[in-house]
C-alpha cells in the first residue's frame, strides 16, 4: 500500500515539476529576462507587440508585416498578443504597472491618448517622429490631433478608422428609392416606407450596446444634427441641449417606432454588421470594415447590394462637408516601461508598420493614414468608393481627449442606453448625464 501511494505521489510531483518546467521555459520569450538577452546584443531580440483582434488590419495582415520586418532585420522577432478591444485598455494598464513592460509596442486607441499622456503610461514620440518621418504633413492634421496632447505625440497613427453610412440598394430600390438619403428627414422617410412596405421588418441596425460604440454613434448622430461635440469650448458637458439632445431624441424615437432593430441595444459593431450583411436590415452606420464584409461571399448574403455613402445630415448644417462621421483612429505607442535598449527597436517596428510602403500593400484591409497613399491610383482601383471615404474622413468628430475619459464615457453609455430604451425619459437622462459628469470633475 505504502509503496503504491508513494509511487503515485512521486509520479504526480514529477509530472507537475516537469510541466512547470515546460511552462516557464515556454513562457520565456515574453518574460523580462529575455529582454536582457536581447540587450546584450548577441542573442535575438524579441519585441512583444500588443494588438487587437479587428477587421482593419487583421492578425494575418499583421503577421505578414512581421515577416517582412523579420526578413529585413533577421535578429529581431516580433511576438504578437491579440486581444479583444474590451481587454486592450486594462491589458495596457496592467502592463504599465509591471516593472518591465509586458509589451514593447501597444496599439493605442484615440480615446486613451489623454489618459496615457496624463499618467505617463506611454512615452512621447516627438524625437523619433522629427528624426525619421520626413513628411508628417502627409498625415491629415485631424489624425495627428487625436494622438497629440499638449504638443506631445503619444502614438504614431496606424489605422485611419472612421464610420461610413451603408445601405442596401436592392432594398431601397424595392421601396422606390434610387439613392441613399442625403438629409435626416429624407432618411426617416425612407425608413418609414421600407417598414410600411414590409421590405424589411427593421430598416436600420446600429451598435448601441452599453459600450464605447454607443458613444461613437451618439457623437456621430449629434454631428449629423449639426454638432458632434459633447463638450463646449469651456469643457462643460452639453448633452442636454442642441444637437446632442436632438440626437438622443432621434435614437429613442427610432427605437419606439420600430425603425431600428431593437437588437441594436445589445449589438456591438460586428453584430450590427452581421445584421446588415445577412440582409436583415437596410441601413448600417459602422466602421470601414463593413465594406469588406458586405462584399465577401463567405461573410455576406448581400454581395453587390451594399453601398458606401456619406452620412445624411440635418438640413442647413454641415454644408461644407456634406457628412458627419466619428473617428476611431488607432496608433502605435511605446509604453513607458519598455526597456531603454528596446525602445529604438520598438520605434523601428512602428516606423515600418506605419510606413506608406507597407500601408500601400494592404489597401484592401484599411484606409491608409497617408494622404498620398489614399489618393494613389491603386486605392482608387481597389476601393471604388474612395471619394466617399475621403468625404467621411474629412467630416469626423473626435471624442474628447480628457484624462478621465473612460469614466465620462461610462456615464454617457449608461444614460444614452436608458434614454433609447425609454426606461428614463430623454430629457431627464440627458440632464442626469450632465450632472454626473460635472460631479466627476469636482
Amino acid at each position: 500500500m505504502l509503496k503504491r501511494w508513494g509511487s503515485t505521489l512521486g509520479v504526480a510531483i514529477g509530472v507537475t515539476v516537469f510541466l512547470a518546467g515546460c511552462g516557464s521555459g515556454g513562457a520565456a520569450p515574453s518574460s523580462g529576462s529575455n529582454h536582457t538577452t536581447g540587450a546584450s546584443g548577441n542573442g535575438p531580440i524579441t519585441l512583444n507587440v500588443l494588438y487587437m483582434n479587428q477587421a482593419g488590419y487583421t492578425d494575418t495582415v499583421l503577421q505578414d508585416m512581421a515577416k517582412q520586418f523579420e526578413t529585413k532585420y533577421p535578429n529581431v522577432k516580433i511576438d504578437f498578443t491579440f486581444l479583444p478591444y474590451s481587454q486592450m485598455h486594462s491589458a495596457i494598464l496592467t502592463s504599465s504597472a509591471a516593472p518591465t513592460a509586458q509589451y514593447d509596442v501597444v496599439l493605442s486607441d484615440l480615446i486613451w491618448t489623454g489618459e496615457f499622456a496624463g499618467k505617463g503610461y506611454t512615452i512621447p514620440l516627438n524625437t523619433y517622429v522629427n528624426k525619421d518621418i520626413p513628411n508628417p504633413q502627409d498625415i491629415p492634421q485631424s489624425i495627428w490631433g487625436g494622438f497629440t496632447v499638449k504638443g506631445n505625440i503619444m502614438a504614431m497613427p496606424f489605422l485611419a478608422n472612421f464610420q461610413n453610412f451603408y445601405y442596401n440598394k436592392k432594398m431601397l430600390a424595392e421601396a422606390g428609392f434610387t439613392t441613399g438619403p442625403r438629409t435626416m428627414s429624407e432618411w426617416l422617410h425612407q425608413m418609414q416606407v421600407l417598414k410600411a412596405k414590409h421590405i424589411v421588418q427593421y430598416p436600420y441596425e446600429d451598435s448601441w450596446t452599453q459600450a464605447e460604440g454607443l458613444v461613437c454613434d451618439y457623437v456621430r448622430t449629434a454631428g449629423e444634427f449639426g454638432n458632434g461635440n459633447l463638450f463646449n469650448a469651456q469643457g462643460q458637458p452639453v448633452m442636454n441641449q442642441g444637437p446632442a439632445l436632438k440626437a438622443l431624441n432621434w435614437m429613442h424615437e427610432l427605437y419606439v417606432d420600430g425603425l431600428v432593430n431593437p437588437n441594436s441595444l445589445t449589438a456591438d459593431e460586428p453584430t450590427a454588421a452581421d445584421a446588415f450583411a445577412s440582409g436583415q436590415v437596410a441601413y448600417n452606420t459602422n466602421w470601414t470594415f463593413v465594406t469588406g464584409i458586405m462584399n465577401t461571399k463567405s461573410t455576406s448574403k448581400i454581395v453587390g447590394d451594399g453601398v458606401v455613402a456619406p452620412f445624411p445630415v440635418s438640413q442647413g448644417t454641415n454644408q461644407s462637408t456634406g457628412s458627419a462621421s466619428i473617428s476611431g483612429f488607432q496608433g502605435l505607442a511605446i509604453p513607458a516601461n519598455t526597456p531603454q535598449d528596446l525602445r529604438s527597436w520598438a520605434w523601428k517596428w512602428i516606423q515600418f508598420a506605419t510606413s506608406p510602403e507597407i500601408q500601400a500593400q494592404h489597401l484592401q484591409s484599411q484606409w491608409p493614414v497617408w494622404s498620398t497613399v489614399a489618393n494613389s491610383p491603386q486605392e482608387a482601383k481597389i476601393n471604388p468608393a474612395y471619394k466617399v471615404y475621403e468625404t467621411n474622413l474629412n467630416a469626423v468628430y473626435n471624442r474628447p481627449t480628457i484624462s478621465n475619459y473612460l469614466s465620462v464615457s461610462s456615464i454617457i453609455q449608461q444614460y444614452t442606453h436608458e434614454a433609447i430604451a425609454g426606461t428614463v425619459p430623454v430629457q431627464q437622462a440627458a440632464d442626469q448625464m450632465v450632472k454626473q459628469i460635472e460631479a466627476l470633475g469636482q
Partner: protein
C-alpha cells in the same frame, strides 16, 4: 366482490400507466433541455460562417465545414489561432494539474491535523478555511493585482503560470480541507492506533493506513480542484492576459473579439475546451458526488 376488486385493480393499473407516461414525458423534457443547447453548439461548430447568420437558421450543420476545428491545430505561427489555442491548452493543463497536486498535498495534510489532533483552536481554523472558500474571487483580485505589480513586482510573477497556480491553490484549498476533514472523521481512530501500536509513526500511519481509505475523497477533491482551475476566467483575465500564460476560457473569450463574432469558431474552441471536463464527469462523476455528499450525509 371479486369483480369490484378487479375493477379497482384495473383502474389502478390504468392510473399507474398514465403516471409512467407522464414521468417519461417529463424525463424527455429534461433531456431536451439538457441536450438541445449542446446540439446547437455542435452544429454551430461545424458550420461555415454564413450558416450562423442565416434566417431561418439551419438546424443541421449547413454549409458544412471541418475548418473551425482544423484551424485550432494547423498554421502554427506566432499569434495565429492555433498558436494561441495550443498555448492556452498547455497553460490550462499545467496550471490545473499543478494546482490539483499542491492542493491534495497541502489540503489533505491540513485536513488530517484538523480531524485528528487536539491542537488549540482547530475548530476555528477549520471554519476559517471553510469561510475562505466561500469568499468570492472578485473580493481578492484587486489586492492580488496590486501586490503582483508593486510589492512583489521584482519576482516577475505577473502573467505567469506560477502566479495562477498559487492563486488557484488559495481558492480551492478550503474546499479540499473541508471535504477531506470529513473523510478523515469517518475513519475510526482505532484503525490508525492499531497501526501505531505496531510501531508505525504517525506520518507512516497517515500514508499507509489513512490515505488508501480516503482514496475516494482524494479523487473527489482532486477532480473538483482540477475542474475549478480549468474553469477559472477572472484571474487570467486580470493577472495573465498574455498569450504566454492565459488559459482556455480566456482564449475562447478572446475569439469573440475578432472582427466578426465567428460563432462557428467560438463553438469549435468551446467544444475542445469542454472535452476534458466532460470526460472527467462521465468517467469519474460518481467520485465527485460522493466527495461532495460524504460530509453532509454523515453530518
Amino acid at each position: 366482490m371479486s369483480s369490484m376488486a378487479q375493477g379497482a385493480g384495473g383502474k389502478q393499473r390504468f392510473r399507474v400507466r398514465w403516471t409512467r407516461l407522464g414521468m417519461y414525458l417529463l424525463l424527455l423534457l429534461v433531456a431536451v433541455w439538457t441536450l438541445a443547447p449542446l446540439y446547437f453548439l455542435i452544429i454551430t461548430s461545424l458550420k461555415q460562417y454564413v450558416g450562423t447568420i442565416t434566417f431561418p437558421l439551419p438546424w443541421l450543420p449547413h454549409p458544412f465545414t471541418w475548418k473551425n476545428y482544423g484551424m485550432m491545430f494547423s498554421g502554427y505561427q506566432s499569434g495565429s489561432t492555433s498558436y494561441r489555442f495550443l498555448h492556452a491548452l498547455r497553460n490550462s493543463l499545467i496550471t490545473s494539474t499543478a494546482t490539483t497536486v499542491l492542493n491534495l498535498i497541502f489540503g489533505s495534510a491540513a485536513a488530517y491535523v484538523l480531524a485528528r489532533s487536539r491542537i488549540r483552536g482547530k475548530n476555528a481554523i477549520s471554519m476559517a478555511f471553510l469561510a475562505s472558500n466561500l469568499l468570492p474571487t472578485v473580493a481578492l483580485v484587486v489586492p492580488f493585482y496590486v501586490f503582483t505589480v508593486t510589492y512583489f513586482s521584482s519576482l516577475g510573477l505577473y502573467d505567469t503560470d506560477t502566479l495562477l497556480v498559487i492563486l488557484y491553490t488559495s481558492f480551492s484549498l478550503g474546499l479540499v480541507i473541508w471535504i477531506m476533514r470529513d473523510y478523515f472523521n469517518t475513519i475510526p481512530i482505532d484503525l490508525e492506533e492499531a497501526a501505531r501500536v505496531d510501531g508505525a509513526s504517525r506520518l507512516v500511519s497517515l500514508v499507509r493506513i489513512l490515505l488508501p481509505l480516503t482514496t475516494p475523497g482524494l479523487m473527489a477533491t482532486g477532480l473538483l480542484t482540477f475542474l475549478l482551475s480549468w474553469d477559472n476566467f477572472i484571474l487570467p483575465l486580470i493577472l495573465a492576459p498574455n498569450a504566454s500564460a492565459y488559459n482556455l476560457p480566456f482564449f475562447i473569450y478572446s475569439l469573440s473579439g475578432q472582427y466578426l463574432h465567428m460563432n462557428n469558431e467560438i463553438a469549435a474552441g468551446g467544444i475542445l475546451a469542454a472535452i476534458p471536463p466532460v470526460l472527467i464527469i462521465v468517467f469519474f462523476g460518481k467520485y465527485i458526488i460522493s466527495g461532495l455528499t460524504a460530509g453532509s450525509v454523515k453530518g
